[in-house]
Structure formats: C-alpha cells, structure tokens
Symmetry: C2
Subunit: 216 residues, 2 copies
C-alpha cells in the first residue's frame, strides 16, 4: 500500500511537471538577428560561459547606414576589443567582469506558456518551446522588461525581446546554433591587436558602448 501511494505521488508529480528555468549549454556557436526601430543587425557569435568570453561578428544598419563590427569580449580579463580588419587596428576598452550574464532563464522568471512552434503532426515540423518573462532592475532605479523563448529540450535560446528606456523594444532571434565551439581561436585577439592600450580613464564598456562604436 505504501509503495502504491509513493508511486501515485511520483506519477502525479510527473504529470504536474511544469517547465523550470534553465541555463543553456556553456559552449555555443551560432547566429542571431537583432532589430529595433532604428537598428537591424545579423551577427555570428561564439559563446563560452566557462571562460566568460564572447566573440561577435556583426553586419547591419543603424538609422539606414550600414556597418560592420567585430568585437571580442573577454569578461574574465575585463577587456573588450573592437577589431577593424580593414585598417588592422584595435580599440581596447575596459569591461566590467560582473556584466557577463550566462545565457539562461533566471530563477525568478515567470512562465508565460509552453507552445509548439509549427506543428506536432509530423517529424521535423515543430519545436517545443517555453516562453518566460520578467524584469531586471537597472542601476538608475528603473526596470527593464524582457520576454524570452527557449527550447524545452536542450534549453537553447530561440528569441528574446528586451525593453529598455534607451533602446525601446529590441527583438533578438537565435538560429543555426551548434553546441560547442567550432574554432577556439575566435577568442584570441588578432596579432595586430597586441599593441593596443586600454584607456584607463574611460568608462567601462558594455552592450550600449558597442552600439556607440557603431554610431561613431
């Protein structure tokens, strides 16, 4: 009888199983498109949560002007390189170590729902995803809003919308993701960056200063 009750509890527990916030695999290679009203970009990236390193190679347009950008963010070392291949020059900036955020659904996120993108009627026709939302306190006392869709299996990012007062709604779509890093050298700055000096007096870089580099 006791075994039966235990089995029943386990069964009910499994049936009641709702999706849980999750963290993506630590090594990812993939592509993304980022867009808001003024800004539109396509980027290839390498993401290493173990070494806290990200490499972005981006093409896009800002206020109808096209740009290219190659940025290497080494959070553990606290530096960011913005690489100009044409001129073979590098801009080296400080980066706040604590600004590294692993790709994850934070534990305090709320579940909006689980859906199948496409169809479950045939193989390869659909993708089971969970959509989460939440807020993040800003340093200025405000609150940024976000909504993220990750796959149920593998905790792979699919899309994110993020709202800040500075940027408005920014929609990011992730695709062609491979678990792993296809070229570990992507996390080394190119040789011609070796002479680059950090401007110690300048403010530390962050996502917005990448945008600023585009504008300038």
């Amino acid at each position: 009888m006791r075994t039966f009750v235990l089995l029943m509890c386990l069964a009910v527990g499994c049936l009641a199983q709702a999706p849980h916030p999750c963290r993506s695999p630590p090594l990812l290679t993939g592509a993304m498109s980022v867009a808001n009203e003024k800004f539109n970009a396509y980027a290839k990236y390498d993401y290493d949560a173990l070494g806290e390193r990200i490499r972005f190679k981006e093409m896009g347009s800002y206020e109808n002007k096209t740009f290219g950008l190659d940025a290497l963010l080494l959070f553990r070392e606290g530096v960011m390189y913005t690489i100009n291949h044409k001129n073979r020059t590098c801009k080296k900036e400080r980066l706040k170590k604590e600004d590294f955020h692993p790709m994850e659904i934070p534990a305090d996120a709320a579940l909006l729902g689980q859906v199948i993108l496409g169809s479950s009627s045939g193989p390869g026709q659909g993708l089971l995803v969970n959509t989460w939302y939440g807020e993040r306190a800003t340093t200025t006392g405000g609150k940024d809003k976000w909504m993220s869709t990750f796959t149920e299996f593998g905790c792979i990012p699919v899309s994110t919308t993020y709202y800040t007062d500075k940027t408005g709604w920014v929609l990011t779509t992730f695709f062609n993701i491979v678990v792993g890093i296809d070229d570990p050298q992507q996390f080394f700055p190119p040789k011609f960056c070796q002479g680059a000096k950090v401007d110690e007096t300048a403010e530390a870089a962050n996502f917005y200063s990448i945008l600023k580099n585009i504008k300038n």
Copy 2:
C-alpha cells in the same frame, strides 16, 4: 559509364536542391498571436482550404482596450458571421469570394534563407525553416511587403510579417498547429445566427472590417 554520369547528375541535383515555394496542408487547427504597434491578439483558428472556410476565436487588446471576437468566414458562400455569445446575436456580412488566400508561399516569392531555429545539436532542439519575402500589389496601386517563415518539412507556417500603409508592420506567429480539423462543427454558424440578415447595401467585409468590428 553512362549510369555513373547519370548518378552523378542526380547526386549533384540533390545537393543543389534549394527550397521551393509550397502550400500548407489544406486542413489546419492551431493558434496564432498577431501584433502591431496598437494591436495585440491571441487567436485560435480552424482553417479549411478545401471548403474555403476559416473560424477565428480571438482575444486581445486594441489601443489598450481589451476585446473578444468570434468570426466565421465562409468564402465560398460569400458571407462572414461575427458572433456575440454574450448577447446571442450575429452580424452577417458579405465577403468577397476571391479574398480567400490559401496558406502558401506564392510562386514569385524570393528566398531570404534557410536556418535552424534553435539548434541542430540534439533531438527536439531545432526546427529547419525557410524564410521568404515578396510584395503584393494592392487595389489602390500600392505595394504591400511581406516576409514569411515556413517549416521545410510539412510547409507549416511559423511566422509572418506583413506591411501595409494602413496597419504598419503586423507580426503574426503561428503555433500549436495540428494537421486536420478537430471539430468540423466549428464551420457551422450557431443556431442563434439563423435569423441574421446580410446588409446587401454594405461594403463587402475583409480582414480590416474585422478590425473595424473590434473598434466599434
């Protein structure tokens, strides 16, 4: 030797195979979310391309006011019912038969690209999709722009962005699609609609008049 050449041609042909415009299965049941700057809705729908019938059950907000809508579009009969369950009343309007468009990628669409939403690194982690774009001439001589993502396998709609001068960009996401109709009676108007009369003098209804019904 001739067989070898033939096999080589076949192999190369297969490798060079690009996605082709396609038409979705004729019977679909699913859900969708539709959003533009002012408008935000969630709808369940039944779609029958054989009988040219669509049933929409929609909830949403327009300019921050919530609404509910139940519409039955019978293109072959040329009528649309807007059903009010609370008052048990129906509005019956004319519908242009030629306004039925099957869910498909038109033959003159251009391929933007093929990507995997999510990842191909594990089972259930990704969805192979094709994104197409094109223009559609409007009756007033203008051109509407659209971009659509359909699954490679099964030709299932995933998302569509459609631009008209009237609506701006409208983003539609499709999900929880099942091939088939789970309840064929969804295409019958409810009993209390039997007395409804078509206003023959009024203009024929279309997608925008559904929106107009919401506003009123």
